[in-house]
Amino acid sequence: MGFTRREFLGACVGGAILAASGHFLWRKFLRSRWQAQTFIAKVPGYQADIATVICEGLAHLGISPQEIKGKRILLKPNLVESNPASIQINTHPLVVRGAVEAFLKFGASRVMVAEGPGHCRDTLRVLEESGLAEVLWEDRIPFIDLNYQDAYSIPNVGKFSSLTSLTFPAILRQVDLIVSLAKLKTHHWAGITLSMKNLFGFMPGLYYGWPKNVLHYAGIEEAILDITATLRPHLAIVDGIVGMEGDGPIMGDPKPAGVLVMGRNLPAVDATCARVMKINPYKVGYLKRAEFVLGTINEADIVQVGEPIAAVATEFKLLNYIPSQKSLRMGFWGKFI
């Protein structure tokens, strides 16, 4: 007894419908597990009351003073190189100050700032030339140089790269909350650099080099994902008041976007930032791979509080001769995902 052609075709169509339904239901299940919330604030300039903005952001994200009270907070800004004329390179010192004030207002027992610059061996020089040293000194904020600390190694949880372990500075075992205090920038290797790429600065130069070439050999996308998965930072705050477009993360041009973006889930924050930059997060390799593994990047699954993206989105210049930036633009269909 065999199948007729009609029966065979019917079975194929039925199978295809079943498969599509299963895929749809699976994605729906995944999406329901990975919903996230991000907050966008309009901030006209660095002289604004940034601490209040961040406090509002924390509140909108459901982070209460109870959650912060008595905790030790580590803020990790993006300090790559210093060029006094270029505020688009580093997280602005006044954003750092605002974040410190916000967490102290929420009852943190200690707030410290830490960074391990990837290019500069003299962290104190970058601190000084970026203007951050002055703010830290005035406000008596402790600074930790992540490049030179004693360190510990743990297994690589992400396993996106071939790195079997990751080595982190000892201070991370002495804090309760890790905050990626990033900058809104394009990047000539990764496409964009936001709260997740900012985590490279946690990796001590003593073990990874200047630059952190071990991570480049492991694959930049893979390393971003591995560090995010293993470190599991608790919060991201992205300084987009003046970001960088073009040839980031150092040589690009200032791009005033007038926003701070915040969230607990770093892929969701980065996806939101990408949309603010009019970049399709699904075209950003590390973000696409992060979906359903480390978080969500689907706009429908991100509860957007504060300003809507449409009110603040501004096109960041991308360069066609930089391969990682060539196809990032948000096209027609990108608006719907």
């Binding site: 500069c120 040293a133 600074f143 000539h188 003593l206 990874y208 080099g209 050999y217 150092i250 040589m251």
Partner: protein
Amino acid sequence: MIDPVVSESINILRKRSLAEGGFANTDNGDYRTDATAWAILALSACGLDPEIISRARSRLASGQLPDGGVCISPYHPEVYWPTPLAILAWSQSAPQQDSLARAVDFLLDHSGMSLQEQEKSPDASDVTLKGWPWVAGTYSWIDPTALGIIALKVTGHSNHPRIAEATRLLLNRQLPHGGWNYGNTILFDKELRPMPENTGLALDALQSLTARSNLELSLDYLKVVVRNLRTPIALSWGILGLGAWGERPVAATSWLSECWGWQARFGVYDTASLSLFILACRLSGGIESLYRLAP
């Protein structure tokens, strides 16, 4: 006669010296190979504490790997950039001559990854040249290459082909408008910016290996930028690099004194930074001039 600032620095180093030999990088810290090597050089430059130096050299030797490399930690044998520092620390030590020889052989046998030239590479550097990396299996960068050159020169290998190629690498990575950074020059048709710490170290390494005319732009850059440096790593390498070419700034002592005072702002400097600071205070030339000091 020891300058008071150097004297206070040495006291800090002494407090970080460990009973079992070697140095921690911070107060109450654990043993660190790089801090130990730097502290040995600093105390040697002052002609002090032979006992502490001797124990530190032995501690360094006890951590040397079977292949001769000296790594940042026993759990990370691939992170072998401290090897040239250990060579420098052992160079004047009779008991560690075997360790020294093995470390030199290691350095001569290992290099950074050499890449193939790509026609449309965004990186303008000659990626085929080999120097030394921070970590095994990665690319060659300025600082480990420069330290490798200095270590091999001090141990009598100035004419070795590895030094010749490493010299070519350093010159290739010199920025067109002068100076060095960590090791990139032009990316996507844009010249990157120099940094004083890398420039000073590269200049120090290139002493007697190339004509001064090849370095004038870098010397000019450093002579200007060093005036405003007050952080220990950048200022010290700036002074050492200029000193290697007979250009130690007249105001160096005053700047170093101000740098010392900045600990009120930054906290007490770590051992590696403090040791480099001491060397910049004590040496009229670059690192190699340490080995020409009267015993």
